[in-house]
Subunit: 294 residues, 2 copies
Amino acid sequence: MDNWDEIRTAFQVARLGTVSGAADVLGVHHATVIRHIDALEKRLGTKLFQRHARGYTPTEAGQDLLSVAQATDDQFIQLAGRIKGRGESVSGELIVTSIAGIADLLTPVMISFQDKWPEVRVRLLTDMRIFRLDYGEAHVAIRAGVAQEEQDNVVQPLVRLRAGLYAARSYVDRFGHPRSEAEFEGHRFVSADLATNRAPFHRWLRSVVQPEQIVYAATEPAALEQAVVDGAGIGFMLAFRAAENPDLIEILPPREDWDSLLRLVTHVDLHRTRKVQAFVAHLKEAAKDWKLCR
Amino acid sequence: MDNWDEIRTAFQVARLGTVSGAADVLGVHHATVIRHIDALEKRLGTKLFQRHARGYTPTEAGQDLLSVAQATDDQFIQLAGRIKGRGESVSGELIVTSIAGIADLLTPVMISFQDKWPEVRVRLLTDMRIFRLDYGEAHVAIRAGVAQEEQDNVVQPLVRLRAGLYAARSYVDRFGHPRSEAEFEGHRFVSADLATNRAPFHRWLRSVVQPEQIVYAATEPAALEQAVVDGAGIGFMLAFRAAENPDLIEILPPREDWDSLLRLVTHVDLHRTRKVQAFVAHLKEAAKDWKLCR
DNA sequence: GCGGTTCTGTGCAAGAGTGCACGGTAAGCG
DNA sequence: CGCTTACCGTGCACTCTTGCACAGAACCGC
């Protein structure tokens, strides 16, 4: 049963009873309608209509087709309504992927978004691997590091994420407080593997200390921060998070090149949809209140 | 939602995940598939697929379309099966229309036909007006009189229906027995209105007797025969029916030009179907046993 | 009875849709 | 790392579908 258009043509003929009427509704010439019917009947090997000068009367087969195609037509109309509406409505799934470090900042944003648009189901994915927007794995991505995006991704800056070099009070009490890079010798550091984390401050750290000074390494950012808090060594933490802990001491004053620029990335196809636009606006609004630079 | 073929194309792409695969299944070039998708998305104003080098991944809208179109595809396959099968199977309705005079002969034929093919529902229509085969009002018609058929009707002779001129014994006892047309004067006759009955014997009767000799006229053949039996006058009856009644006397010997040639008429579109063929064969077989010429 | 109207049916020309070819990209594999 | 494979995307030439015009047939109302 190939060529659904011919079924659609036959449907209108069966519904209206005349070739001319069907041609009007379908917006084609009546000759086209006749040819569609002829082709369909030839392929089915059965007459769908009794032809006479007053029009076309459906046979039993034609009546069967009529009822089936009527249901199909209804289904398609509803489908079109849903699809067109979906572009304009804020509903369905909204998948956001972000770097692990700010998942706790994002969570209240997503909860309030879901609260605002009850018909959406939100999902926040934080994984080491980069989710691919062009495979439809996520609607919105929050990424850091150098902008190395595929084409068809629309990128916009979100926030500047300040990082600072901290140590626990227990560490300073034991090993002292270096006042510049020159005094780093003999100190212990906490850092991520370069292979798994390309944050600018980690790159900087790797370049100014000896590899053997790094006494603790992990892939998970939360694990690294915990190591600093526990006094394992000097390491980078996000400034806003360090500020919450009075037990942490800032080792060096902040530098601009330690900052991470967070980017908001969406696929161009989804970027235009109202749902994504709504979330992007919501996120930007929330981000205004973030105190990320202390 | 016009152009159902594009939906069908999108359906295959959503199902298979690649343009090439869909093109193979659909038997078209992959460029055509791409163009269908593009056109459909443009019309809907929404992306149905995420495009990437490994293929097309359906968006939410695409998945919605997939499930709807899958149901449609199933429906159409079933429909095609029914329609193709219907041409070959003996089922559904079978509508037969015939002249009123032989309805009692036809009834057992139709009952045995329904007995042979339990899936058919038979209907026998006997009405004064001529049912139009080309309007799909009946599958098979049994007609008499001059062959004045529309084109596209296939006509085959069925039986010769003998009619004779009879009177009741009570009539003969009272008015005598005319031995030829010459002795018709002063006799009473029973006949149909010429307007409603064009049977050859009625035409003949009208031509040989005076209008005022016709003392009883009716439109219903059964009423006319009853009038003859009751002695109202001399009139025509079907020979096989008169033979059943010993109280009837044949006034004149039978003449060939009184005979009606019954024709079996079907519309060319329906003539080829197995159901109609089965009934035509069944009817002809039954007609062999009819003793219509006494 | 006879134009007027409303259908269907068909030859012919124009145009839209299709196939083909080639180019480009991404993923898998040894 | 380079080769192979399997995709997608697009300009161009062509085929096939479509639209048009006209013919024909049936029915309706005056």
